[in-house]
């Protein structure tokens, strides 16, 4: 059976063979590393999908292989049907035939029972004790799972996690991060959303409004939509606005990108967001979906939290996180206390290329656009 180079995460399209870890004729176990592959993002070991014997290896170290390309062939070891044989080389379990029957009837593998009888013989009581400790089959399953969880002190460092790890390390070791917090009164946006829902029944996520506002603000503060190229001595102000959406999935953080966000309507942004989110959850993101982001938004709001110090999605320049929206007492200009919906935000930026003042002016502009949606309206293309 052929072993192909598969997508080991973040939509890679090709990989370089760093080294071969097996040679033809080797017997490999399932999950045994076969080759080490380097992608543009990560180095990973490809595990054997099944146990067998390595027949032919088609690649050599240094070669670049496209996803789907055949790396090697393994002839699987045929799965033998369970067949009864005299267990000649192991000591026999001591148990009377009657006791064995009791165990069989209770779906207990006699080999799992600890014998307390003479010479370690398993008694009926031992079987019943085993039954009581393992309880009902379904409970037994969960209990085993819990037991397993408690026992296991290691979990596999998945490819996704490896990638996250590498990126986070790179970002924090390169960029001097600064984060500042602020609050946005989102009452007006929420009311607009509510009115739209009640009016035409159109449902648009508030995040789509935020993203639009971010786009407007980024146009005015292009420094946060840039990339520092230290070796060239340049700050590269990117012409396009591709907004990455930090998305929490079972396997870990992933950042799909809404491309040319400045050219999209709020409704389009909403639709795009939804489809990317779905693709992320179903592991269907393509390499395009994940590439060329210029600024990242982390919409932590639905989950919770009132503040964070996010790490920038290297090599971008900044990241804006939206936190939980809460109803809070607010003092008006007229010194009255009213209830408003307040969302806290965290803005992290690269202190090498921008300072706190610029960052605060950027978030102030964002706040302004959200608190007075009419201003946002005037900015729409």
């Amino acid at each position: 059976m052929d072993v192909k180079l598969h997508d080991i995460g973040e939509g890679m399209s090709e990989g370089e063979i760093v080294q071969l870890l097996v040679k033809p004729g080797d017997h490999v176990l399932v999950d045994q590393p076969l080759v080490e592959v380097q992608t543009d993002k990560v180095t990973a070991e490809l595990p054997s999908p099944f146990a067998g014997k390595v027949e032919t290896i088609y690649v050599k170290a240094g070669e670049v292989i496209e996803v789907g390309g055949t790396l090697l062939t393994i002839s699987p070891i045929p799965q033998h049907t369970e067949q009864t044989r005299l267990p000649k080389r192991t000591k026999r379990i001591l148990a009377a035939p009657f006791t064995r029957k009791v165990a069989r009837e209770n779906n207990i593998d006699i080999e799992e029972v600890k014998g307390t009888g003479p010479a370690g013989r398993i008694t009926d009581e031992d079987v019943f004790r085993h039954l009581a400790t393992t309880q009902k089959p379904e409970e037994k399953e969960t209990e085993r799972a819990i037991e397993k969880e408690a026992k296991e002190r290691t979990i596999p460092f998945s490819t996704r996690r490896k990638q996250i790890s590498a990126k986070m390390k790179k970002s924090t070791l390169t960029i001097p991060h600064v984060t500042h917090f602020d609050e946005v009164d989102v009452t007006n946006i929420l009311e607009m959303k509510k009115a739209m829902k009640e009016g035409k029944g159109q449902s648009i996520s508030v995040a789509a409004f935020y993203i639009k506002a971010v786009c407007v603000a980024l146009k005015e503060f292009p420094i946060f939509n840039s990339e520092l190229r230290e070796e060239e001595g340049l700050i590269y102000l990117k012409p396009d606005l591709h907004i990455g959406l930090a998305t929490d999935t079972e396997e870990g953080l992933i950042v799909p990108v809404i491309h040319h966000c400045d050219k999209l309507s709020i409704n389009d942004i909403h639709k795009e967001m939804k489809s990317l989110h779905k693709a992320a959850m179903n592991n269907e993101l393509t390499s395009k979906d994940l590439s060329s982001g210029t600024f990242t938004i982390s919409n932590a709001g639905p989950l919770g939290s009132t503040g964070a110090t996010p790490i920038i999605n290297y090599p971008e320049a900044a990241l804006l996180a939206f936190h939980k929206t809460k109803k809070m007492p607010v003092v008006t200009k007229n010194d009255e206390i009213i209830i408003r919906s307040i969302m806290s935000i965290s803005m992290t930026f690269d202190h090498r290329i921008a300072d706190g003042g610029t960052s605060m002016r950027f978030t102030n502009r964002f706040i302004e656009l959200i608190e007075q949606p009419s201003l946002l309206l005037t900015e729409l293309v």
């Binding site: 009864t84 080389r89 000591k91 003479p118």
Partner: protein
């Protein structure tokens, strides 16, 4: 398929009416199932018609020939022709017994060559009639057939045939060569020698009874030598000169040997009778040797199809087939059954009977036990002296660590009777005091066992006194 054919709907359809098949049928019927049993020949299988029953009947006759009873003088004479009549009559009686049980258990026993038509249909051809059954569960018990040694494969000599045909002869040969080393060979050699035939055993194996305890191999060889049975082990380059009826081979020392004989029979292994079943229709794989792989519940790889007996591989013993037949029938009726080969008792009805259960010394050591062996000669057994059967011995292996009985091997009078106690003892995980303490009938063959065990215990005491 024939237009308008009638399909019989059955819970359980069993193919093969040997011990595994008919025991499966009885058990399934007892469990309330509607059962059809199909066999290409007659009920009883190899066991009744050419194996266990005929061979035991001839072994019994041979034994009686030599039986000495104090005060009784007889000059026995054996007539094979007469024996055949009695054999056929016995088989007919036993077959009738089976038929009567089928009838009273509402088992439909059909003669025909059965094969699978589809996943849940079996057809059987019988002359011009073709019948079809649909089933919920099928149990396969079609048995096995002897393998012909390569050097005999092209032979068509009427006096060269598989060992079991010996029991269909109408007269005894003067000389007989048995090619093989298994229990069938040893039993036939012993029986025919006792009936006055000049017997030669030839095998390419290192020893006779290769899978048996060494103590049994040694004692068996000693007895054969005493009976003037010639034997050659570890031979190679066999060929047969048919005109002179001479077997030519190279013995273990590398010297050429020629043995002239009247008849050559062989028993070197068996293959499963799976060819005609059309197992491809149900997706069950057949191994090279015709064997079908099964689980400890006798399940095949097809969910509702079971296999039992010789068809599932060795040891090719009815005792195993019977257990598997019951296991398969119970399991397909929803009873959680299983079988194990761990405590399978094996018996050879040689003139001095042989029996064995549990581990041999080699197997026990391989399994990691510290083996303690005790043995007792039948010469010292009072009852053996009374009956005039003082040949042989009892050998038992137990675990030095916890005194658990691991294996029992007997060659001598009483071996067949005592194996039952040994089988139960090993199943129960019995330890030495468990056999020493209970009363042993006196005089009785069983005392040899008690003697053997007690001897090992006594050694311990003596050592202590000595210190």
């Amino acid at each position: 398929m024939v237009v308008g054919e009638i399909i019989h709907e059955k819970d359980v359809v069993i193919i093969g009416a040997g011990p595994a098949g008919y025991e499966a049928a009885f058990r399934a019927a007892k469990n309330g199932r509607d059962v059809t049993l199909i066999d290409r020949f007659r009920p009883g299988g190899e066991c009744l018609h050419s194996g266990c029953i005929p061979s035991k009947l001839l072994a019994t006759a041979a034994r009686k020939m030599h039986e000495k009873t104090p005060g009784i003088t007889v000059t026995p004479a054996f007539c094979m022709d007469k024996w055949q009549e009695e054999k056929n009559s016995l088989i007919a009686t036993m077959e009738k017994g089976l038929q009567a049980r089928f009838h009273s258990s509402n088992i439909d026993c059909v003669k025909g060559q059965a094969s699978f038509l589809s996943e849940n249909r079996i057809g059987a051809e019988q002359g011009e009639k073709f019948e079809v059954w649909s089933f919920n569960h099928a149990i396969l018990a079609t048995g096995s057939s002897p393998i012909t040694p390569n050097f005999l494969s092209s032979s068509s000599h009427p006096n060269i045939f598989p060992l079991e045909h010996l029991y269909t002869l109408s007269s005894l040969p003067n000389q007989l060569i048995l090619f093989g080393s298994d229990y069938l060979t040893i039993e036939a050699a012993s029986t025919f020698r006792a009936l006055g035939v000049e017997v030669t055993i030839v095998t390419d194996q290192e020893t006779i009874l290769p899978e048996w305890d060494e103590s049994i191999q040694r004692e068996s060889i000693r007895q054969f030598k005493k009976q003037k049975v010639a034997f050659y082990t570890g031979v190679s380059g066999c060929l047969v000169k048919e005109r002179e009826m001479t077997l030519v081979f190279c013995d273990a020392k590398g010297e050429n040997v020629e043995v002239e004989t009247e008849m050559i029979v062989y028993s070197i292994g068996r293959v499963g009778n799976s060819d005609s079943l059309r197992l491809d229709q149900v997706g069950i794989d057949i191994q090279d040797d015709g064997i079908i792989a099964t689980s400890e519940e006798c399940k095949t790889t097809s969910a509702n199809i079971y296999a039992c007996g010789d068809l599932t591989g060795g040891p090719f013993l009815a005792v195993k087939g019977i257990k598997q037949g019951k296991t398969a029938a119970d399991h397909c009726c929803g009873i959680k059954s299983a079988f194990s080969l761990e405590c399978l008792p094996k018996v050879i009805q040689t003139q001095t009977p042989i029996s064995s259960v549990g581990l041999t010394e080699i197997e026990a050591k391989e399994a990691g036990y510290e083996v303690m062996t005790a043995s007792s000669s039948m010469k010292a057994n009072g009852y053996a002296m009374v009956t005039g059967n003082t040949e042989g011995k009892i050998v038992i292996h137990h675990d030095r660590e916890n005194h658990v009985l691991l294996g029992f091997h007997a060659i001598g009078a009483g071996a067949v009777e005592l194996i039952e106690k040994a089988t139960l003892a090993i199943e129960m995980g019995a330890r030495d005091e468990d056999f020493i303490y209970p009363y042993t009938p006196h005089p009785g063959y069983g005392e040899a066992w008690t003697d053997a065990i007690e001897r090992t215990v006594e050694i311990k005491v003596e050592t202590k006194v000595g210190q």
